[in-house]
Structure formats: C-alpha cells, structure tokens
Symmetry: C2
Subunit: 145 residues, 2 copies
DNA sequence: GTGCTTGCAAATCGTTTGCAATAGC
DNA sequence: GCTATTGCAAACGATTTGCAAGCAC
C-alpha cells in the first residue's frame, strides 16, 4: 500500500463522491497499480481483502469514476475495457502479438516518426480518439434551456 | 453502387486475397459507406443482396482485411468494433450523448485546442492509440531466425 | 479432389440489469 | 427510517468456435 488512505478519502470527498470502503479500495488499487487493469484484475486482487466484493460494484464504481473524470476508459484492445488513473494526456501502445499495453510519450526522444517506432516498439497503426458532446447535442441542450 | 466492382476486385487480387463474391460486396460496401459501420449494419445491408450471408463471414472478412491493412478497427465506443476503410491517419470523435462517431481533422482551422473544441464538438477526453509489435516481441522473433 | 471459404448453431465472455439485502447518516 | 450502495444471479449482446456443406481451381 503505497498511497495514503487519507489522501484517497479526501480525493473522493472533494469530488462529491461518498467514500465507501469498496470505492476507497478500488481507487487505492488504481493509484498503486498503473498497469491499465481490467475489472477482473481489480476484482481478483481486492476479493482477498473484501471477500464479499463483487464485480458489479467494480463496474459501478469505475463507471462513476469515469463520469467524474477520475479515470480514463481505455478501449484500445476491443476485447475488454481497461482503466487508467492518470488523466493527464498521454498515449497507449498495444502489442498485437502479446496484447500488452504500454504507456508512451511522443515528446520522448525515443519517438522516431520517420521509422514508425516509439520506445523501440514498431507502429503499424495510429489512431486518435476524442470523446465529448457533439455539435448537434450541444445545440439540443441549448434549446432546452 | 458508387465504386466500380472491377476496381474492388483488383484491390483484393493485388493484396493476394481471393476475391469471393462475399468479400467483394463487403469491401464495396465499406468503400461506398464511410460511416464506420458495425458488423450488424453491414450484415443487414448485404443480406438483401446475398440472402445466405452470415455474420461469421463478415467477421472473418473484416479480420482478414484488418490484418492486410485494408481496414482499421475502431474501438472508441467500447461496446462494439466499427470499421473504417480509410487507412490514412485521421481522427475520430465519439459523442458520449448520442453515440455518433465523427471523422475529425486536426489540421482543420475548426480545431480550437485552447477551447477544447473541434468542428464545434466539445472535447472532454483525448486519447492516442498506437498498435504494432512491441520491443520484446520484436526481439523474440529476431532470436528465432 | 483438395484446400479454402462459407454459414449455421452453439459456446464464450465482458458487461449490464433486476432486485433484495445492507450500510450509513 | 430513508436513501444510496452493494452484490448475487440471471440476462444480454458482441464475438468466436466447431464443424459440415459448398465452391473454385
């Protein structure tokens, strides 16, 4: 346990989220394990500490955290959603062979665009995803006011 | 039918893919409908022309096309995979309200980074995904040679 | 006729839903 | 006690798998 539980609790209260024990444990896990875990990975770790822990709670909690901007949902693999506590803008690399997801930094001198390489990983595909509210939906909500 | 079937056939043969009727129809559909369709959307359209068409064939074909670099798999929504024929590097915007996916262009003058807006869409989240073969897997395959 | 492709049906698996039990103010 | 949260079990839905039938060279 690297992260202080007090800080975790404060983080939730500051966001207006009721700091239940389950939520604290999930947030603490995310802070201490910056490995883009799946729901299943989080579940298998936390069920040791909270034997009644359910996957549903983890799904509920992560959805809530995502809505509040505490975590990012990473859908790079297309198989399952992975979660990332670090909301600063950074980038992900998926190995199509082993399935591992790496954090990458484009400002890093190891980024060689001309060779399509980053940190030594060979890039075959690059995509940028933006999420938010589209023009039409923005206008609709304006009209309602 | 906007795209010429002859060109579609040539495209497949050039890639070393056997140009079956099903594959031609799927590739033609993708060329003529740049709307990031799902497997289901493609199926429902093509089943009219080929009543025996199966979803499995569409899954098989799109997986093959993806491996050959003809299509990109878009996993932005996290719910289902969408497909994009345009392999040039461009970007996607998902509306979290209506679920629609827009193509966006960052070199466009409508991109206002400071306001977190693009083409009038409000950006809440931005992610860049790279896919390829990681350093470790590259080394492993080198050693095998 | 051999090998690849197709397509049905069943299985799989991540995720969601319904709902009753529980916890916290 | 009231409201939000938790968590079990069942449902759901996108995708994959097994396998038999069909097609093309």
């Amino acid at each position: 346990m690297i992260t202080n539980m007090k800080h975790i609790k404060k983080e939730l209260i500051d966001q207006g989220i009721k700091p239940t024990y389950q939520r604290l444990c999930i947030l603490e896990y995310l802070h201490d394990n910056l490995v883009h875990p799946t729901v299943d990975i989080i579940y298998n770790k936390l069920v040791n500490r909270i034997p009644t822990m359910s996957r549903t709670t983890i799904y509920n909690t992560l959805k809530l955290f995502s809505k509040m901007g505490i975590v990012n949902e990473i859908t790079i693999s297309g198989i399952e959603t992975r979660y990332d506590i670090n909301c600063e803008f950074h980038h992900h690399f998926l190995c199509k062979k082993c399935g591992k997801i790496y954090d990458v930094d484009l400002t890093n001198p190891c980024f060689q665009m001309e060779q399509k390489k980053i940190d030594g990983h060979k890039i075959y595909e690059a995509q940028s995803y933006f999420k938010g509210i589209c023009k039409k939906c923005l206008e609709k909500s304006k009209n309602k006011k």
